[in-house]
Symmetry: C2
Subunit: 383 residues, 2 copies
């Protein structure tokens, strides 16, 4: 905080209110993009925070927060997406989607646009963008219909962006290849340690990155807790993948998660905020191990396994986080991946990002890292 005390400091303050929020603000933090409720937003606004209203693929806060957008507040609000799946960007849109949805939810039209432009620029101290005006960057979209936010033309740096110009954009050489340094795992590695039948279970909430901290009794076998599909509870493991342990034992931890709807198989991801270790959920440890091991071969991405076979995968070889394919070519792979997850019984609209947020130990209430389950409210490792 002191290193950036002269600059802009963005915050992450989910559910932080009252005196705790006061202390947080006293450190010089000026924005928050983790606000999920109207009362929470209004308290933060009153205390001088700029609220970045977020609508990602998992974390969807706009419905709860659109009603705070008004002439009185719009100077202190901005839109942000944060972890928005390329499929959603392609099919629903990005900030245009947020503007459209905010207006549908009743936000004053001009203030929805203000939140999407000048207010965001000002919040970050950017004085040359956010308006169509002399002295500002000539990055402009022309809109046919203000209510629908239908973009008819894009101008970037003063040039009309057509397909021919877009095709001339510079190619960025990939970085962070071969970043997945974990070693293959076995089903036995993922079985977990002996524990009482009643214990913590992560409760996934569809469309939220906040989880519930549940205490549930599960069946046991040889002293080990087991999945219970009747309660919609399956396994979750996180495996360190940056090679920090060298040749020693791989750092990993195991737990249980409720809410994916899986009846069989496993889903693994090398996207796992913010340490981006491997996170895998599944009904069956053998399928989970196969999914992890396929991820190692792909050098990152998403993998779906069912009954001992890979049924869907997308490689993300750039740091284990990004594809090298153009968005249009990636799109059918993502569609197929979703179908593969659905075939396991998955009921979540966005299973892969919901997996990716399970390891984020700064978001309430119960998360899991390679060190173990984290009680985020108390900021302690369980066990």
């Amino acid at each position: 905080l002191s290193a950036f005390s002269d600059g802009h400091i963005d915050g992450h303050a989910p559910l932080v209110t009252g005196l705790t929020l006061n202390a947080y603000l006293a450190a010089g933090i000026r924005t928050d993009h983790e606000t999920t409720g109207r009362d929470e937003a209004m308290e933060k606004l009153r205390k001088g925070m700029t609220i970045l209203i977020r609508e990602g693929s998992v974390s969807k806060d706009l419905a709860a927060l659109a009603s705070i957008i008004s002439a009185e507040t719009s100077a202190f609000l901005a839109f942000c997406t944060d972890d928005r799946n390329p499929l959603d960007v392609a099919e629903e849109g990005h900030l245009d989607f947020m503007i459209r949805k905010a207006i549908q939810l009743g936000a004053p039209v001009t203030h929805a646009y203000r939140v999407a432009s000048i207010s965001a620029a000002r919040a970050f101290g950017l004085r040359d963008r956010g308006l169509v005006a002399p002295g500002y960057r000539a990055d402009v979209v022309l809109i046919d219909d203000l209510m629908q936010c239908s973009v008819s033309q894009v101008i970037a740096g003063g040039r009309v962006v057509d397909d021919a110009l877009f095709a001339t954009r510079p190619f960025v050489a990939p970085v962070g290849l071969t970043s997945v340094k974990a070693r293959p795992v076995t089903a036995a590695d993922l079985a977990g340690r002996p524990a009482p039948a009643a214990g913590p279970v992560i409760g996934v909430i569809p469309g939220k990155i906040i989880t519930d901290h549940l205490m549930l009794a599960l069946p046991t076998q040889d002293g080990l807790r087991q999945p219970d599909l009747s309660q919609d509870v399956i396994r979750v493991s996180v495996i360190e993948r940056h090679g920090h342990g060298g040749a020693g034992a791989q750092s990993m931890a195991h737990g249980f998660v409720k809410g994916f709807g899986l009846k069989q198989g496993a889903i693994a991801s090398s996207v796992g905020h913010d340490s981006h270790n491997i996170c895998v959920v599944g009904v069956d440890t053998a399928d989970m191990a196969l999914a992890v091991n396929r991820l190692l071969e792909l050098q990152g991405g998403f993998v779906v396994v069912n009954g001992g076979a890979v049924t869907g995968e997308v490689a993300l070889p750039v740091a284990g986080l990004m594809s090298q394919l153009p968005a249009d070519e990636l799109r059918p792979h993502l569609h197929h991946l979703r179908e593969a997850a659905k075939a396991l019984g998955c009921t979540l609209a966005e299973p892969f990002l919901q997996v990716a947020f399970l390891p984020l130990p700064v978001i309430p209430h119960l998360k899991i890292t390679d060190k173990g389950l984290v009680d985020v409210d108390r900021f302690v490792l369980l066990d």
Copy 2:
């Protein structure tokens, strides 16, 4: 401009509109405190400028601009005073006066306060003031009546400011003493040069720093234009006072000004924006010379002369611009000075600051410096 291109650049753009305003803004200038009209203000707002609504002692723009204050605009407006006479600060107030007056003129109450606080702070990139909130400086005024903006208590840096605390404020050692380096002048020095009877006259506008560029025929004597009290036209001279000319001839220029109402005597000032040379207006060159020479003895200030005698004076020895007296002790002197000017027939409410703005050659339309009359619209010296 390039030296400050990464920082905040304040503007002075009186009556600048259209393409000229676009060019001005393209240089990175982001505020203006010289806006005097509603249409001018709205164009500047539309083009992304923050308008600093000014209410000084001479330059009073609030009445013309109060109607632009709304929920839509308040984030892009601030109040400023700029050359507010200490008498006015004591008797009418400062920003409190502007808030009160704006509300009386119909501005939405909460937005008048927003303009006076958070919007001003944000316009200048100050992130730790403008709100009563955690992480902000504890500079607070408590207000009994929101409509009247009646301040009942002041808290500065977290301490309640009472008379005892105020008395402990540190004394600042004076700087810029003996800054008035001009040599005494004679009546003959101020007579001017031969010129046609019809020529330029500065038209003073009460309560404005903008002047009219008038063309008037004046009586002449020996080829020299003369004052004409029937047209309310008297003399004005500006005399370089920083000693730039060394032992050579003093740089000075002479002209005529309409609108002071003077029937006799002279008024001299070492406050003369922004070069702060000596500016003297008067009916009679002998009284004008006496007023200038008394200013030299005082090392700056304001002097009123009538019939060969000094009838009012206030010394401003700090750089020829500021008094060393506490505000309370200065106040009766300023009252006396105003009375002395009134006794000359002066009809202006604020004669001394109206004199002080005659030499400001960046404000339309006709001004005078020690180099001569300046046609500000064309940016050329006349003669």
